[in-house]
């Protein structure tokens, strides 16, 4: 993938989608109020998505190979 940056937009959309579309206390997620649980889900997903970005990033691979990317 040439533009891993596009993947990195997803957490922004996800993080905001909760409060924008469902600004409410229920249902509870992980035993926490909806919006807090939603935020936690996206914190976890952000880490996963950034790991994916890291794996496919051509700049990172170039840096690992010792070239100036």
């Amino acid at each position: 993938m040439k533009h891993p940056g596009l993947l990195a937009i997803i957490p922004f959309i996800g993080m905001f989608a909760g409060p924008v579309f469902h600004n409410a206390v229920t249902p509870f997620i992980f035993g926490m109020p909806f919006l807090l649980g939603w935020t936690v889900i996206w914190v976890l997903l952000t880490s996963v998505i950034m790991a994916l970005v890291y794996l496919i990033d051509p700049h990172r691979k170039a840096a690992d190979a010792g070239e100036a990317p």
Binding site: A24, L36, T39, V43, H59
Partner: protein, 489 residues
């Protein structure tokens, strides 16, 4: 009371000892004192950058905000996470450029990229101004801890002065290397303390985390969702964007990124550090529990929420350990902030005015400036009455104004000229100053606008104007600056 104070004093003394040990055997030149000779590996940069995550802000500020406002506190968890996505793409090119040109500060980067020393001076000015509220909040936190741990025997002003004196001593002794090593101790302690009290308090008072949230919802049905006006969803989104973009615009974070040994450090950090944010959850649990158990704190007093419930729930020696962790969360970032503002002033103001100044003189002047910065910060901390979160948001409104011209400078063909960057930053900062000084909001100034516009974080509105002015002035001056723009590397 004596036990609590002794523990806190011991933690400060321990941090000083680490600082002394970390510096031993190293000649402290400018590059060594400020960016540690760029020799930090992934672990230390991780900790140094994390050193700015777990500050008094996250410990006392986040719990106080959850206590006082409820759902708006979630923004702290959201922005810290998203900021690392920005850093993944932004920091490697910044780091490479800084290393190639031996830059040690943030204004260096702007001045060098845009070929404009005047822009460097402006960036330094914005940085120093933005750091003032950040330093004030660390001192406010230190003051609260000393005050609470003495069970009120030491008054606020004296507590703040003690805190400021300790941080000053620490900076003069250790520099950035001490900060990184103390970060390790600080982070271990803060994670243990936050997780422990975050689990213990809800279980102790309500029998669990979910029962605690259920009780909060029963007592205050709308507390855990966003309000329709004011701190609304629109406030949340604009505040998270402003702060996520501004996260690495802080002169000390920008400077800390220069300490890395290679660029992949930042990419790896972007995977790990979002998870590190989750410790904030436990801090929220404390704030929400306190909102039912020790209600009644208003405004700036909400900063006390965490310590108030801890004093109510634990014996003095536990309060002492919690306070000691709190002292470290203020000490490390406080020392970085003070060192950075002193270096900015010495290097990016005075040295520009006095072209012959040697590096040794710059370091010496910076060290003399540290106590001056401390006095200014302590003065505002003693006289002010803001919540810790409000102070940080004020700083962010200023510092994020640097983001548009920084990002454009990283583009292969930068459409922004030095006058464009200058004008945009000035316009954004002017808007923030106006709204801060007059205490206005967009809603009060232009009541006819739709609600979601009126609730926008003022810093984000200023940011939009900044971008418009930056692009407009760049378009006008593009011809004159076509050759100076983005010199070939």
């Amino acid at each position: 009371m004596i036990v609590a104070l002794i523990l806190i004093a011991a933690s400060a003394a321990g941090a000083l000892a680490i600082g002394v040990a970390a510096r031993s055997g190293k000649e402290m030149g400018l590059e060594q004192w400020t960016v540690a000779g760029r020799g930090f590996g992934a672990m230390l940069v991780f900790l140094l950058l994390a050193g700015e995550i777990y500050t008094t802000f996250s410990f006392l500020g986040a719990s106080g905000y959850a206590y006082g406002l409820g759902a708006p506190a979630y923004y702290i968890l959201a922005y810290g996470t998203l900021a690392y996505i920005v850093s993944y793409f932004m920091l490697p090119p910044v780091w490479r450029y800084a290393r190639r040109h031996h830059l040690v500060s943030q204004p260096d980067f702007f001045a060098h990229k845009y070929g404009s020393p005047a822009l460097g001076v402006l960036v330094a000015l914005v940085g120093v101004v933005a750091l003032v509220p950040y330093l004030v909040l660390q001192f406010t936190g230190l003051g609260i801890i000393v005050q609470a741990a003495s069970y009120g025997a030491i008054p606020k002003a004296v507590s703040i002065i003690i805190g400021a004196a300790v941080v000053t001593l620490y900076v003069v002794i250790s520099g950035v290397r001490g900060s990184a090593w103390t970060s390790i101790v600080k982070d271990a302690m803060i994670i243990l303390v936050a997780v422990f009290i975050g689990l213990y308090l809800p279980v102790h008072y309500f029998g669990g985390i979910t029962p605690m949230f259920t009780a909060v919802t029963q007592a205050k049905p709308a507390f855990l969702a966003f309000a329709a006006t004011g701190k609304s969803v629109s406030w949340f989104v604009s505040t998270v964007m402003l702060t996520a973009l501004g996260f690495f615009m802080w002169p000390h974070s920008f400077g800390a990124c220069y300490t890395a040994r290679d660029a992949n450090v930042f990419r790896k950090n972007a995977i790990l550090l979002p998870l590190y944010q989750l410790v904030l959850l436990f801090v929220f649990f404390v704030g929400f529990t306190a909102s039912l158990v020790v209600p009644g704190l208003k405004g700036a007093a909400t900063n006390m929420a965490l310590l108030k419930i801890c004093v109510a729930a634990f014996p003095p020696w536990v309060v002492g350990i919690i306070g000691a962790a709190g002292v470290l969360t203020a000490l490390v970032p406080g020392s970085l902030i003070m060192m950075t503002s002193a270096t900015l002033f010495s290097r990016n103001f005075v040295a520009i005015m006095r072209p012959g100044q040697s590096d040794e003189e710059t370091v010496r002047l910076a060290k003399y400036l540290v106590p001056v910065v401390a006095i200014i910060g302590a003065y505002f901390a003693i006289s002010g009455s803001s919540t810790i979160v409000a102070l940080l948001l004020m700083g962010y409104s200023f510092v994020t104004q640097l983001f548009p011209s920084l990002i454009c400078a990283l583009l292969r063909r930068n459409p922004v000229t030095a006058p464009g960057a200058f004008a945009g930053i000035v316009a954004g900062v002017a808007v923030v100053v106006y709204f801060t000084v007059t205490n206005e909001t967009i809603g009060k100034l232009l009541p006819g606008l739709p609600e979601f516009v009126r609730d926008l974080n003022i810093g984000s509105a200023a940011l939009l104007l900044n971008v418009v002015v930056m692009l407009a002035v760049s378009a006008v001056t593009a011809r004159a600056y076509a050759t100076a723009d983005n010199p070939a590397e």
